[in-house]
């Protein structure tokens, strides 16, 4: 399916991408992260052109969380988090305080020296979050990172993301099937995607009141 979307986002703001499965939401995130290459068009962030020419993923200051925490199984929790700290930053003393702050805030004390393979699913998401934040990303992309988690853990992770957004000032784009999760994460701005096209950009209240298509109305309706 062809995904053809035009959108913009203010620095430090949050945007929810909402739509049915297969609408092209994850493709948009993958293009922003450099994991997929657009066929045409223009992608830029923070005055840096991402495409064209294609800027390699490792040169983009982007944090990316998905359903799979993607922890490195050969490393301990501590090493996984440290993986996020850029090499050049490790020389200075300030990174120690920064990592310690992440460790405390995300409650990683008890599992700090544990192998990444020996922790629970909820703990793994917290470690993945800490590792992503360790890099101080300018743009955070969330592709259903809360799938399969209990409501308490989801609430906790959303609070963390909102807290660190205020601290680090990153912009955030989130994708999820559940409108209530997105609404809590990105309360002001939502872009509805259908069959690879953006169909409505609105506030959540506007989207609920006047959904542009029957499918959108159906997706927003309670079960």
């Amino acid at each position: 399916m062809r995904v053809d979307v035009s959108m913009d986002l203010k620095t430090g703001a949050s945007l929810a991408l909402f739509g049915a499965s297969g609408a092209g939401k994850s493709t948009i995130l993958a293009c922003l992260a450099g994991l997929e290459t657009p066929e045409s068009g223009y992608v830029a962030f923070d005055d840096v052109t991402l495409y064209p020419p294609l800027l390699p993923t490792y040169k983009r200051s982007i944090g990316y969380l998905t359903q799979e925490p993607g922890l490195f199984p050969h490393l301990r929790v501590k090493e996984n988090v440290m993986f996020g700290v850029p090499f050049e930053a490790r020389r200075g003393p300030e990174h120690t305080a920064w990592v310690q702050q992440l460790q405390e805030r995300l409650r990683l004390h008890a599992i700090w020296n544990a192998p990444a393979t020996a922790i629970s699913g909820g703990q793994a998401r917290r470690v993945a979050l800490a590792r992503m934040l360790a890099r101080r990303p300018k743009l955070v992309l969330l592709d259903e990172p809360f799938a399969g988690l209990d409501r308490q853990t989801v609430r906790e992770l959303i609070d963390h993301l909102s807290f660190w957004q205020k601290t680090l000032g990153y912009s955030m784009i989130a994708v999820d099937h559940q409108a209530e999760v997105l609404q809590r994460l990105c309360p002001e701005d939502v872009l509805a995607i259908e069959a690879g096209r953006s169909i409505q950009r609105d506030s959540w209240a506007g989207l609920h009141a006047h959904p542009a298509t029957p499918l959108l109305r159906s997706l927003l309706a309670p079960l």
Binding site: P56, Y58, Y64, E68, G70, F72, F83
Partner: protein
């Protein structure tokens, strides 16, 4: 399906090991006193030196060329990968003697490359170059096929994750791909080492001299009989076994750590 009891499994494993090790009881067969006279010892020690030094160089060439090749094959499309794997299987499938014949014809004065090399004074038969070149040709297919399997088993998502965390492809290789593929790579290195250090058929055709351990075993058998073969065989095991075993030990230790 219920798994067999641990004791039954262990007995099965012991029987398997017994069958593998049974031929080694031949060391205790009475064939007369072993011959380790000066005539046997001097060429034997020289053969050990030749085998270790030249196989060491061959392994270095194999790993340096084979690793990026394996990485390329892992990352190319499924259809292209099949073509590369078929190319790699061709030399691997040939009987060693046939490999030797092909190599000596292609790199001898009858072959285009051989003539060209000869023009520059590079001798590619019965020389250290021939010995290393033959071992590389014989072993590299094993290494690349093994390395492709090992590195292909590392989830691509983890390598993408490393890139998202700012690691260059080179750093990703060293810090993610290599550590996660180390057990499979250890197996690839081990099998390649065993294949190259024990190569006889191809090396006998292309590089009878300098004689490595396998060719020296043949010379001992022809010149002195079995009594001169057994001590060199024992020496061969003592020299060739530790390296692959150590590689396995290190890879295992790191994965348990």
């Amino acid at each position: 399906m219920t798994s067999p009891s641990p004791w039954l499994a262990r007995v099965g494993a012991l029987l398997f090991a017994g069958a593998l090790l049974y031929p080694f009881t031949a060391f205790f067969t009475f064939i007369g006193p072993w011959n380790w006279s000066d005539d046997v010892r001097q060429p034997a020690l020289e053969a050990v030196r030749v085998s270790l030094v030249l196989t060491g160089w061959a392994m270095l060439v194999i790993v340096v060329i084979g690793t990026p090749m394996a990485l390329y094959i892992v990352r190319c499309g499924a259809r292209e990968r099949l073509i590369w794997q078929a190319v790699l299987l061709l030399p691997v499938l040939l009987p060693p003697l046939a490999q030797g014949v092909l190599l000596s014809l292609a790199f001898g004065t009858q072959g285009a490359v051989g003539r060209w090399l000869h023009h520059f004074g590079i001798v590619v038969t019965n020389s250290a170059t021939a010995y290393i070149g033959t071992q590389v040709y014989v072993g590299i297919g094993y290494f690349v096929l093994g390395a492709v399997a090992a590195m292909g088993s590392v989830p691509f998502a983890l390598q993408q994750q490393a890139a998202l965390l700012g690691l260059t492809p080179w750093q990703t290789f060293w810090r993610v791909t290599l550590p996660l593929a180390r057990l499979g790579l250890a197996v690839a290195v081990t099998i390649t080492w065993i294949r190259t250090v024990s190569e006889f058929g191809a090396v006998m055709v292309t590089a009878y001299y300098p004689s490595g351990m396998p060719v020296q075993l043949w010379i001992n058998l022809q010149s002195f009989g079995l009594t001169a073969v057994m001590p060199l065989l024992l020496l061969f095991l003592a020299i060739a076994l530790p390296l692959p075993w150590l590689v396995h030990l290190l890879a295992q230790r790191r994965s348990d750590a």
